[in-house]
Each structure stands twice: as C-alpha cells, then as structure tokens.
Amino acid sequence: MGQITLSKVVKRFGDVEVIPPLDLEINEGEFVVFVGPSGCGKSTLLRLIAGLEDVTDGHISIDGQDATELPPAKRRLAMVFQSYALYPHMSVRKNIAFPLKMAKMDQAEIDKRVDGAAKVLNLGDYLDRRPGQLSGGQRQRVAIGRAIVREPAAFLFDEPLSNLDAALRVGMRLEISELHARLQTTMIYVTHDQVEAMTMADKIVVLQAGRVEQVGSPLELYRAPRNLFVAGFIGSPRMNFITGAEAEAHGATTIGIRPEHISIVPEGGTWTGKVVVSEHLGSDTFLHVDIEGREEPMTVRGDGEVPVRHGDTVQLSPDETKIHRFDAKGLRIE
C-alpha cells in the first residue's frame, strides 16, 4: 500500500502558475525526497498530495484509486508539519491519540497503539506532559508519533528538521531513516537541504519553479546530473563551472568539476592559483582558490592534513574522467 501517481497535475494561484503540468510516480515503500531552493513549489506539491490544496487540473491517485477530489482525511496520508503543529492544550498522549479518537476507535485499541508508538519513539516518560514542556526534538517525535499511529498509506514530511539545531538534525535524520527501514511505508519528504536529500532518499525529485528537473537515486543525480541546475544543486560544496575556451576544448559550452575531483599537485597542474580561504574541518579541507581569469574562486577538497594556508600558491589538476559537460542550453552532453 502507498503508491501515489500524479498525472498532469497543475496548480495555479490566480494567474500565477506555481506548478506547470507535472507527472510523477511514487512507488510503494519508497523514500522520496522533494528538494529544491525555497519557492520552487515543493511544499505546494506536498500539500496537493495531502489534499490541503486543490489541484487546478490533472489527477492524483493513491493506490490506484483516484484521490483528486478526496478530502485530506480520506486519503489515508499522515503529515508531519514544519512547526510540528502539536495541539498545545493536549497532553502528548492526547495529541498522539487525536487521529484515532477522530476515527472513533475504541479506547483499548487507542491505548495500545499510543503506547506502541511511544515505545518506538522513546516518548514513554513524556506522555502526560504538554507540548510546551518538551524540547524541539521531543516535539518532533510526538508529531511523528501522531502520524504513525494512524498506520497511513504514506507519510508526508514538510521540512520537519528545519527548526532543530544542527546536532539534533543529524540525529533525527537517522531516526527517520531507521523508522522508514522498520515500517517500510512510503514516505515523501520535502527539504531544501540537499544533504538531507542525499542521505535519506531512495529517490530524489529535484524541483525548480514547479518543474521536475530530474528524478533519480542520490548517486545517479550525483554522477550524472541532467542539467546545470541539478549539477549545481546536488553535491556539497557545489560544483565548479568553467565556461569559455577551456570548456570549448572539451566540446561543451560549460564544463563542471566537483571540488572532490580536483587534486592539489606539486607541479604541472592545469590551473595555478592563490588560496583565498582554507576551511579545515579535520576530516577534509576545503580550499577556495583564486585563479586568474575566473570571477569566482574555485573550490577544492583536499584531505584533512593539507598544509596549505591563506595566501599560498597551489597547482590544481582535475580528474579528467569526472568532468561533466553541458551544452548551450545547459543540458548534459553524454
């Protein structure tokens, strides 16, 4: 259970077309991540699937059944909101039990499911507290608990980790991935953070201005970005783009090379430049190198012990097999 198909879905707000005709197939049990810059329509797309917004045109079907006109509650989907949207006046137990109470389930079954969810999410000690007395991570878990007790066909996550601090975010990311592995339920996850997308997804949908730029597994997107936008969006730090004569030598308008595919060589490198900033992370070092004739500094990843400082001159050499080529329209050349 949990196959979702979008065919020719269009969303307009007045005259503004937020989502042009869009087709998307989400398979059962998949962890799909919608990723894109802010304002790209990824949250709107999720809300269309949830039924919180009406589609202007096109069809949405869930498990083969047309759900375009179904109200949100009838779609058997559960959503975790960015602000968690917990009910502040109810205890954690009542929050989690709310969807079951609305479904008029009997009390014994409700108690069983709430206790089950609390155990899975380590919320046992907090069941009688109010959301206001919980930390951000705990609130997040309550929101997830409220979603899992319904045993939905699919989970929808709307940027659930963006209100958490960095350390907690990494932890919750793992927890959500584990939850997916255990429940094997379809999950759709919206984020603007490509690291979250890369680490969690089975399938990434890269969106820009409502259009699907590319769909694929994280590594497919990393290895073979279909166009300049995807190439620049996926991967951190972002890919270096080179235009002009150097690109033409490779038979392309633009060539791209990822920071991790450039090495620092003692001599005979393709480029010579001056280090503007060197960021030592311990495991890696990111160098920003000013090269003559280039407006932006080139980003290079070296290992953690690179003995380079600000102002040093270095020689760089790309891994020729890892160069991505793009034509004048920004599309990939194979």
């Binding site: 009910y87 502040p88 609305m102």
Partner: protein, 290 residues
C-alpha cells in the same frame, strides 16, 4: 535595579504615583465605610450619630435586597453568556475573507462607541416600544399583538441592551485571538480526520479560552455596576423586577436621601464583587497561566 542605591532611587521616583493612587482609592473607601456606620439622612440635617451595623441590617433585611442581588447575578451571567457565545460566532464570521471586510469590522465595533444612556434610549423608544418600536411594528404587521418588552420582561430587555453594547468588545478580542491560531494546527487536525465541528471544539475553542477568560473578567467588572441602562429604561421596575445592587444603592441614597444606608449598600456591593471575583478566578483563572 542592580545596586541598593538605584533601588532606593527607584522607590523614591515611583512613590508620588503610588501615593496618589492609594489616596485616590483609600479616601473614598474610608469615607464610605465611615458613612455606613452613621445615621446620616439628608432629610434630617445635623443628626449624624453613630449607629453601628444598623444600616447594614436595614439594607440586608430590605425585601428588595435579595431580588436586587439575584438580578445583578442574572444580569452579569446573561450578558456574559450572550457576549462570549455570540462574540465567538461573530468572530468566526468576521475571520472569513469577504469583500469589504474592513468596513464590516468597523461597523461591528460601532456599538461600543455609543454611550450607554443613548443606546438604551434608542432601544427603548425605537425598538422595544410596543407602539412606535420596530419590534412592535414587525409583530403587528404579522398580525400578532406587540410585546411590551420593558414591562413584560424588563430584566431580559436590559440584558439584551447591555449585551448589544458589549458584544463588539468580546468579538474584537476573540477575533484577534482567532487570527493568532496557527493554520498548520488546523490543517493537522484536518489531516487527522477532524470535521469542521470537531476542529472547532478541539482546536479553536481551547485556543480561544485565554482570550475568553480576559473577556469574562473585564466584562464582569463593568457589568456588576450597570446603572445608566436601568435608569433610562425601566427605573428598576416594574416593582423592583429590574433593580440591581447598583440601582438599589442609588435608590437608597439619592431617592430616599439615606446616605448611611446607601453607603452600607455600597460596601456590600464591594464585598459581593470580591466574592464574584474569587469564584471567577477559581473557575477560569487557570486559563491565564502560560
């Protein structure tokens, strides 16, 4: 307020205001208490002898007292009920996006700006009057006998008039509270399968409870001392069917010229207000805790 010196300076600075406020409150209260123990009638000049609790005894044993007490509570309760329930419904209505929303909101607030005597007179003469009033005209044009509101149901009529005045206040406060409700919460409830009514009772009403508490507490303070509306419409009558404590105190001290008895009534009204306040805080005060 870090050092002892700055604390002392701060106390010195605020003392004029505090002392003024204290005097402003204490002096009239003390004088009322003082008068309430005197045999002080304006018709008997010169005789201001101390008579202990005689005034209180007289006021409490007055057959009108119990009626006035009940009327006061019914008036306060009735208006609170109508304004909070009606205010919530009106706020829900005004929260919907409609054309001309700004003008509609101003119109809704308007009754609050009309002074009590004027609005009560308008109601008395233009709506509730069985001969000239709008309600009477509606009744007769359907072939019914007109209903004389102010003599048949005097207290109810006054509750209606006072409610009309206070409804905008409740609506306004509840509307702002309603607008602060997180839309994601409502959407979450929608996804959780809650219908419109379930959403209203499980999400909206609890969210409004704090604002409703403020509305109830503030209104109670003013409603315990409703006076002008009674004076210009029913004069507390027929009999004492629409007399509340405030009006009874007025009747005692200014219609019967009994300053001592009126003062005693005033003190009793203060005590009653405090009892009501204690009960209210017990009942709904916890809503104000964050």
């Amino acid at each position: 307020m870090a050092t002892q010196h700055s604390r002392a300076a701060a106390r010195l600075m605020i003392s004029p205001a505090v002392i003024l406020l204290l005097l402003w409150m204490i002096v009239p209260l003390a004088m009322t208490v003082y008068f309430s123990f005197l045999n002080y009638n304006l018709l008997m000049p010169g005789a201001h002898n101390f008579i202990g609790f005689e005034n209180y005894k007289y006021f409490v044993t007055n057959p009108a007292f119990i009626t006035a007490l009940i009327n006061t509570l019914v008036l306060v309760g009735g208006v609170l009920l109508i304004t909070t329930v009606g205010g919530t419904l009106l706020a829900l209505l005004l929260d919907q996006p409609v054309w001309g929303q700004g003008i509609v909101r101003i119109l809704v607030i308007a009754p609050f700006f009309v002074m009590p005597t004027v609005s009560a007179l308008v109601w008395k003469n233009m709506f509730m009057n069985p001969v000239n009033g709008l309600f009477g005209w509606i009744a007769t044009s359907f072939g019914f006998a007109p209903f004389d509101f102010l003599s048949q149901a005097p207290l109810f009529s006054i509750i209606l008039i006072v409610s009309w005045q206070w409804l905008p206040f409740a609506t306004l406060i509840l509307l702002t509270a309603l607008q602060s409700l997180d839309s994601e919460q409502v959407e979450a409830a929608e996804m959780d399968g809650a219908g419109p009514f379930a959403r209203f009772f499980h999400i909206t009403v609890p969210h409004l409870s704090r604002a409703a508490t403020v509305v109830i507490l503030i209104q109670t303070i003013f409603l315990l001392s409703v006076f002008a509306e009674i004076l210009v419409t029913t004069n507390g009558g027929p009999g004492n069917a629409s007399t509340n404590l405030t009006y009874l105190v007025y009747a005692q001290s200014l219609l019967q010229f009994d300053v001592g008895g009126g003062s005693a009534g005033g003190i009793i009204a203060v005590i009653l207000a405090n009892i009501v306040a204690i009960f209210l805080m017990r009942m709904i005060g916890k809503n104000l805790d964050a």
